[in-house]
Amino acid sequence: MKPRTKRKIREAASSYAFLMPNFLGFLLFTSGPVIFSLFLAFTKWDLLTDSSLKWVGLENFVRLLWFHYEAGAPVANDPYFWKYVGNTFFIMLGIPVGMAGSLALAVAMNQRLKGIVFFRTVYFLPTISMGVAIYMLWRWIYNEDFGLINSLLAMIGVDGPGWLTSTAWSKPALMIMNLWGTVGGYNMILYLAGLQGISPELYEAASIDGASPWQKFRSITWPMLGPTTFFIFVMSMIGGFQSGFEAAYIMTNGGPAGSTTTISYYIWQNAYNWFKMGYAASIAWVLFIMVFSVTIFNWKVGGKIVHY
């Protein structure tokens, strides 16, 4: 054997040794389960009664996605699912608002001001503490009678709504909380990094031409931040589809009247409240397909709009 090939084989062998621990985990806890869950999606399996697993073909998906006729009008087989998809999308409407806020904050923080590190820490605080404790905190803030928001509103003579108890306000309430939790976090820092990457010469040239601050933002900052915006948008969409479990579990139990149940909370309900593993797996797969197709769509369209 040639020494070259020998070395190649040796390198490949040590590569596999390097990969082994991670790859075993990948096989056991990621790719294996992915295949198994695809299989589960076509079965009926009630873990609670421990009834045996039954192959049902497309039944889960038909129930989930298809409709039947009731008195001549089409009715979804699982109207709850569509409602919860709607809830998820509604809450995702907060994403662009949050992004705009992050960008504005980043622009403000990009100015040479003293004590900016302090502000950065303050704005980052909600992001790092986001979790069960924060959801509990917001449940108290949103308390109808004695919560912070309604008692502040009462001081100016406004009767605050039952934020988490009325179907009209529950989703906006969660959106406001998400905005608070994310506006100064990762996205702001990504925008800040993007802003610092823009050459100051561009702004100088624009100043000489007499451009106003808004014109500078419009024709330099915004296009130069295109890739950053695109990246944040894609990642936020992926996250948004899967979000909402913790808030629903801690704050609202998905209510009132299912108005804060998102897809991920519905999966949890099916799998761990009702132990309907097959149906839960099929919802998880539909969710995956939604995430996947939206991401592909974003890449295709985004690739055309964003200039690198």
Partner: protein
Amino acid sequence: MKSLTAKESKARKKRKGLFKKFFLYALLSFFGISMVTPFFWTLSTSLKEPGNIFTSTPEWIPRAKFIEREGKKLDIRVKEENATFKVLATGKIRIGRKNRIYSERPEWWNPFLKKYYVLEKRKEEGKEKPKRIYVKILKEKAKVEIIQEGPDKGKVLEVPSNAIKERVNPAWKNYLEAWRAIPFARGYINSLFVSITITLGQVFTSALAAYAFARLSFPGRDKLFLGYLGTMMIPGAVTMIPVFILLRKLPEVLNWIFHTDFWSTTQYLGPYMVGTPIGIDSYFALIGPLLFSAYGTFMLRQFFMTIPRDLEDAARIDGSGPFGTFFRIILPLSKPALATLTIFTFMNSWRSFLWPLIITNSMEMKTIPVMIASFQGLYITDWHLLMAASLIALVPMLIVFIIGQRFFVEGIRLGAIKG
């Protein structure tokens, strides 16, 4: 118009700069305050006596009520507040409970109108909002119970409301009470053990794999890497269900193979319950599935790619194999990236909720977030305890963040570099 001299225009520019700075600080401060207000609110609630939480106007500083009698200060609890008020609509004078008075503020559209109103808490059939009755308060009285230790303890008196005085009095005992209400200490040990093990494992396995992907060549490398990247898009819910089923069924299978019931029996370490060996309610279930991460592999690969190859070549010429190069050259050079991944992983596993929630049953095996959630179920309306518990859970995160702050900013940038 007279043209400006150079000096004047410079001064104008400076003034404009100052104005801009002022505006920016004002803006940043305003939103900054709204960022930290909830935390202050939590802290303040957590330090209040249970009776002082439900106030219609926010009280930021926890206070205790007392009255002065014969020159002595006596701590009291307000039992009932009454008021004589005039109903403005009819002119009638009535006596009623003070706590029925919902707000003592004027309406926003007329700040000079010093009217008071009582909010009827009963909602009328078919009406969205409770009815408001406007009243003017004439005289306020309160029934108070003396809670100060001494001969007068337990006595109930009626005093005019303005005789009740207040002093600053944080109720630190709330923290002790919250801490004792559920096994928080055990939760802390669980969370620390689980988070540290996951972090060490994830960083180690990710670094090894990342080096293979970044520097070594082997058949199928790029396809495999693409597979890793692809899994990052799969929702956690997809894999969670099968892993849950696996861990639920595994003990039964092992018992059947080895003809024992060891695998499904709860184990004890001295007096301490340490869960089952494998399966639901075990440390293995809490840790095992999280020892491997596609994200960590991806992030470290991106970083390893930026290390100059010369150093490795030098090491290789000196006769060092891939393992020697990895441990002696790559790892020491990647300290910032490794530190970043460490902090991220630690914080993510500390706050992780869904997986520990579904995989644990007994209180002894729960991690801090799950414990807090079950605490909420037990103490639904004890907001002072709930807020104290929330802060107890938040403190480690804040400490880690303050220590590792600079790594955060770096890490976010690293994660976003497209490969």
